[in-house]
Amino acid sequence: MYTYDIHALNQLLGSIIQDNTPPDVFAWLMKQGNSNDTAAFNAAFVMMPRKTGKAVISVKPEQITQLNVTRPNLSVEGWTADRLGRVFLLTLADTTDKNRYVKVVENLFLAGEMNELVALYSALPLLAYPDCWVMRCAEGIRSNIANVLEAIMYHNPYPAEQLSTDAWNQLVMKAIFTEKHLELIVGLHERNNAELARMLLDHARERGAAGRDVTRELWNLAGQFEGAGVINNLKQEYQLN
């Protein structure tokens, strides 16, 4: 049900939380993982900031290295303590009954406020039954809340691993429309494709016709599938650079 070593991950996230919160918080957190008591599990998830605070965590270099071994391309650097606490809580949930597990997590998405949604989308690469969250991830990309989008797009290996080509292309286009840092998207070049290149060049034409600029990274992506001549002609025609 997990594609990675969940025990190693639990230990690692646990140690980062221990380093960043008072001892009683970790002790409390370790008792909240019974997702079969849904009300208590929900309450723990919701009230996390009251327990952990919202300070940005510090992560040791060896923890960064270890995380990259256990779950490559995932980064927790810059996360707040409540975000990590919520993601950790989700990794403690009981996964034996697949339907029940999916329902519990889905229900948190349905009632999530902004910071909860950030934590939930950050947790996608760590949830059990990875194929169950594809629709949810695509739904998240439709969000217009910037920090929710960033939780999906930045340092998150889930979209590149699971999304269909169409959904992936929507992610990249949405990132461009909302002026995200494309270089933080995991798998940007690995998932690049001819259809996306076509969409990017059409987008460049639209922008050019409106007298607006495009991000430079667009040319790099399109350039992997379109010839330099096509791109240079387009740039000249619309006076883009």
Partner: protein
């Protein structure tokens, strides 16, 4: 906006009402503890921010159209802590909310039962500063039942309560709301009685509750009446709000009333209390208000690695005086 002649009309009743001069409240900051932004436009957010509104509370209420299922309640509550909160942040206004089952919809008992089960999932969320707005509308038995159940919920969660008082049979409904709150073990200091008027304010204050006033054209308080109330009762435990919603209402009611109070000799300290500080004191009993978050518009959790929701998030200004839209 013209500013030099706006004070000239001050003592000439019967002339054209003077224009609200935004420079009169320059440098002041306001907290509107009751405003239904879901029903308002981005222009309103912009105008509120320009007039000095730094934070607001959006109480859960009746959307004008009855909800027929639980999911629409859930989506509404989710939008109060999600999309609307984000929308507000784009204009630099810190958005809080109160969550509750409003009195009108308490009358659909089958649905009300389900909503009561849903509430615990929302009331402990960040930025939820109370249970509200709850209370009486028609003063039916069902309204009484769900008002009481939600008071119990507020007591358990240690959250303030924002009480909507009825339009019809107001005085009786207000008294009854307070009696029941005390009966259910709530401290009057944790209960904000809303939509007061000249007839209700004395008893509310005498019994130790907070008295909120809604400055709302035609149906509730006008702000000239509000000035008189502050002159008579002072500023202790009194706060004003706009309750702006889908009706003909004014999201600038708080700053406008501050300007009027200033013109008519209310002290700066009293103005600050009734338009800012008292609402914070009352609702901060939830433990969910952090004033340091007002000015930055970005709470710490959304600011990391040099990124913030403002970059790519903050609404750019458009020049509305220009015929050119680019």
């Amino acid at each position: 906006m013209c500013c030099s002649h706006s004070f000239e009309n001050e003592h000439q009743p019967g002339t054209v009402p003077e224009v609200f001069d935004i420079s009169a409240v320059k440098g002041m900051k306001f907290f509107d503890p009751h405003v239904h932004m879901t029903s308002r436009t981005t222009d309103d957010y912009q105008a509120m921010a320009d007039a000095g509104v730094v934070a607001l509370i959006e109480p859960a209420f009746w959307l004008g159209q009855p909800r027929t299922g639980l999911d629409s309640f859930r989506d509404y509550y989710s939008s109060l802590v999600g999309w609307e909160r984000f929308r507000s942040s784009q204009f630099g206004i810190k958005h809080y909310c109160t969550i509750g089952l409003n009195s009108r919809e308490a009358n659909n008992e089958a649905l009300a039962e389900q909503v009561m089960e849903l509430l615990p999932l929302f009331i402990y969320k960040e930025g939820v500063v109370g249970i509200g707005e709850i209370g009486f509308d028609d003063q039916t038995a069902a309204e009484d039942k769900y008002y009481r159940l939600q008071l119990d919920l507020a007591r358990e969660a240690a959250l303030p309560v924002q009480v909507h008082t009825p339009h019809r049979d107001k005085k009786r409904g207000t008294q009854r709301s307070m009696d029941i709150a005390i009966e259910h073990g709530l401290a009057p200091y944790s209960v904000i009685i809303d939509h007061n008027n000249e007839e209700t304010v004395k008893e509310v204050l005498d019994r130790g509750f907070w008295a909120a006033f809604t400055i709302y054209p035609f149906t509730k308080m006008g702000n000239q009446r509000m000035v008189e109330i502050v002159k008579q009762y002072g500023s202790e435990r009194i706060m004003i709000n706009s309750a702006a919603d889908w009706g003909i209402s004014d999201p600038l009611a708080v700053p406008k009333t501050a300007a009027l109070m200033q013109q008519q000799g209310i002290s700066a300290q009293d103005i600050e209390l009734v338009t800012y500080r008292n609402a914070i004191t009352a609702f901060a009993q939830s433990g969910q208000i952090d004033e340091t978050e007002f000015t930055s518009t970005i709470d710490q959790s959304s600011k990391f690695a040099g990124n913030s929701i403002l970059r790519g998030g903050q609404q750019p200004r458009i020049d509305k005086s220009s015929i050119i839209i680019s």
